[in-house]
Amino acid sequence: MAVRPLSRPVEIYKHPLHKYVDAVRWLPPISALDRHAVLALFDSDCGSSSVEIHSFLNPKTDASSTSAMLTALTTWNPPSRVSSLKTTLIGHRPFIAVSTADGSVYLVSAHDAHTLVEIGAVHEVHACPVSCIDLLEGGSECVSVGEDGKVNLVSFGSSTVTNTLFFDSNGLVSYSAAKWASPNEFATGGLDFGLQWWDRRKPGSPVSQFKCNWAQGRASGIIHSIDIHPSRKHTCLAGGSLGTIFAWDLRWQHEPIIFSESRIGVGSKHSVSESEVWEVQCVCDGRSTSTSNFSSSSRMLPIMMCSEDGILAVLEQGMNLLVISDSQMSSSRNVFHFWFYIFFRKLMAVFAFPIYSCKRTENTSSVNSQFRPKVCSCLQ
């Protein structure tokens, strides 16, 4: 896999938190100057979870004072551990949707960065932890999916939260990822690299399904993350097990566009990582690529990914690869890490609790790269 050097060095800031970081998102800016992150934390010592807003101070020139970079402003405590967290801006107010391990979905609004107010919740709409939720951009609706095979649509008003069971596979299909494509359409993903396309006007079954009928030698896995670029709603980007990242074009359903994959016997030759890809995102502007002609639909947009084995990378079709993380992350020194990446002036947050892995391998040349902490989420 070809690796292109970055035109600018990536700045990495670490912020140790002595808790599990279960999810992180940017809080949509309340004013132009604000930069806040929403963190879902879990303290294993006392077993309590919290959703916190942290102010993020851009350290600028004084890079020595990185410890004061994140400051907790306010906290809201969900009763169970957070499994997924999304944010959106409605009107001028940021909303946070939180799903929990006990199968509930909570809606929390941030009046300002110092106040988190629970609007309401639908309790135990899933019989297992909610795998994933997605908030409709700027809308008051949230899709939640779970391994129990339920697809719920949670709508919320100014003070009420209601739930509609949109589909129930009765456990025959398990869902692990969901993403809105438009106010009426969304995609879900799950086992066997399967993707489903849903239209809420046509309930009862998916409008379209994609089951990765991998050719011989391709291993199967689970989709962990889906992203759909707002300008290209027909293309569904998915990332999952074994470093697999592919795009499914609704118009060319039979053949996925593969960004990264592991093949049995071939190893990681075509893969940016051999591990679980936890999140994929379309990169929203052309800053990182030379082929920035995005109006031409023949090429895929560059994508950003992060994985269990600590890789944060930007990929382009045709295997041009920019690995951003790698060595920087391996030299991490604290038990719980929180990184902010400044990448081409735009901010991207990455969190991790380190899950180290070590390969028992005779090839000892790159020992450092074997000890990378897990990266669970990346966002722009």
Binding site: S80, R81, A101, H126, A127, G149, G171
Partner: protein, 328 residues
């Protein structure tokens, strides 16, 4: 070694008589004297707080012992009752909402009471050994790995080396079974000892499944010749992570004996063995012995209400490492 650090994990129901943790320590099954099975689940794998997820009245008599079924066969327990029967209960459901504890099978052997049950996993099947107050051992096999209903009786025998003699008048108070905990290819085996009025039954014997003839054979007797009649209170087979011998602890009135058992049988089919330690420290009987995951530490407890930890030093000498006494 310091053992004073302890913390309370959960509160048990009134009348709880026995508990058992599942394979990963995330679930506790607790049986009460009124026949209720309570299951406690951890709220999160990283925290150690538990809450009760289910309480089912499983029998009219009280529950004497709970044993988890190996996880490859679902979330299920065997409950031994005071009245001498036992049953297998399983948590299952057709969909996520109908999951509940259900009775799979009830066993009753008439006038002889079941004393202990243990499950052994072979690559292809699940085996269950049950022992009874009349000195008999039964080995069952599960025919369908997805249904804990259909058990086939594979063998029935008494805990004696010489298979000719049977003891019809045996009366056993308690029994102790411990499977060789290692998974994998080798033949299944377990150790079994009785606490009875029949000396020949008492001493713990290693039973191995002879696949070629489909029968169970005694391959070792873990007692010195003069101590063969000693009542066995507890036996525990240590996990073997690579030792050239097996390690088994047997508790009798003389103390806790630690045995090394060779891996390969000698010419007459018996396994070479050596008693490497006889540990004393407990006052009264030792009811329970548990090896840790590496087989390096043995935890024991008994009628004195003390938990003792035993380890071998670097010269192979076994000694008490620590004790724990609960003071409330």
């Amino acid at each position: 070694m310091d053992c004073k650090t302890y913390k309370s994990v959960l509160k048990l129901d009134k009348g709880t008589a026995c508990t058992a943790w599942n394979y990963c320590g995330q679930r506790l099954a607790a049986g009460t004297v009124d026949g209720t099975l309570a299951v406690f689940d951890s709220t999160d794998h990283a925290s150690s707080s538990f809450r009760c997820s289910s309480r089912v009245k499983v029998h009219k008599a009280g529950i004497l012992k709970v044993v988890w079924v190996p996880p490859e066969y679902g979330d299920a327990v065997a409950c031994i009752f005071y009245d001498g029967g036992f049953s297998i209960w399983e948590e299952a459901g057709e969909d996520s909402h109908s999951v509940q504890w259900k009775l799979c099978e009830f066993f009753n052997r008439g006038s002889s009471k079941v004393l202990d049950i243990q499950f052994g996993v072979s690559p292809t099947s699940l085996k269950m050994v049950s022992t009874y107050s009349d000195g008999y051992i039964q080995v069952y096999e599960l025919s369908n790995p997805l249904e804990l209903k259909n058990w086939q009786l594979q063998a029935e025998f008494q805990n004696v080396i010489d298979s000719i003699s049977t003891f019809r008048k045996a009366s056993c108070l308690s029994a102790s079974i411990s499977w060789n905990p290692m998974r994998g290819g080798q033949e299944l085996s377990f150790i079994m000892g009785f606490n009875s009025d029949t000396p020949q039954l008492n001493s713990s014997k290693v039973w191995e499944f002879d696949g070629a003839h489909q029968r169970w054979l005694p391959v070792a007797e873990l007692a010195l010749p003069e101590e063969r009649g000693d009542r066995v209170y507890s036996a525990a087979w240590a996990p073997n992570i690579g030792r050239p011998y097996e390690l088994i602890a047997v508790a009798t009135e003389r103390g806790i004996a630690i045995w090394h058992i060779g891996l390969n049988p000698d010419l007459d089919g018996r396994l070479p063995m050596e008693r490497v330690a006889l540990l004393s420290g407990h006052e009264g009987e030792v009811w329970q012995m548990e090896w840790d995951m590496s087989g390096m530490t043995l935890a024991t407890t008994g009628s004195d209400g003390v938990v003792r930890f035993w380890q071998s030093n670097s010269n192979g000498v076994w000694q008490g490492q620590a004790t724990f006494v609960h003071t409330s």
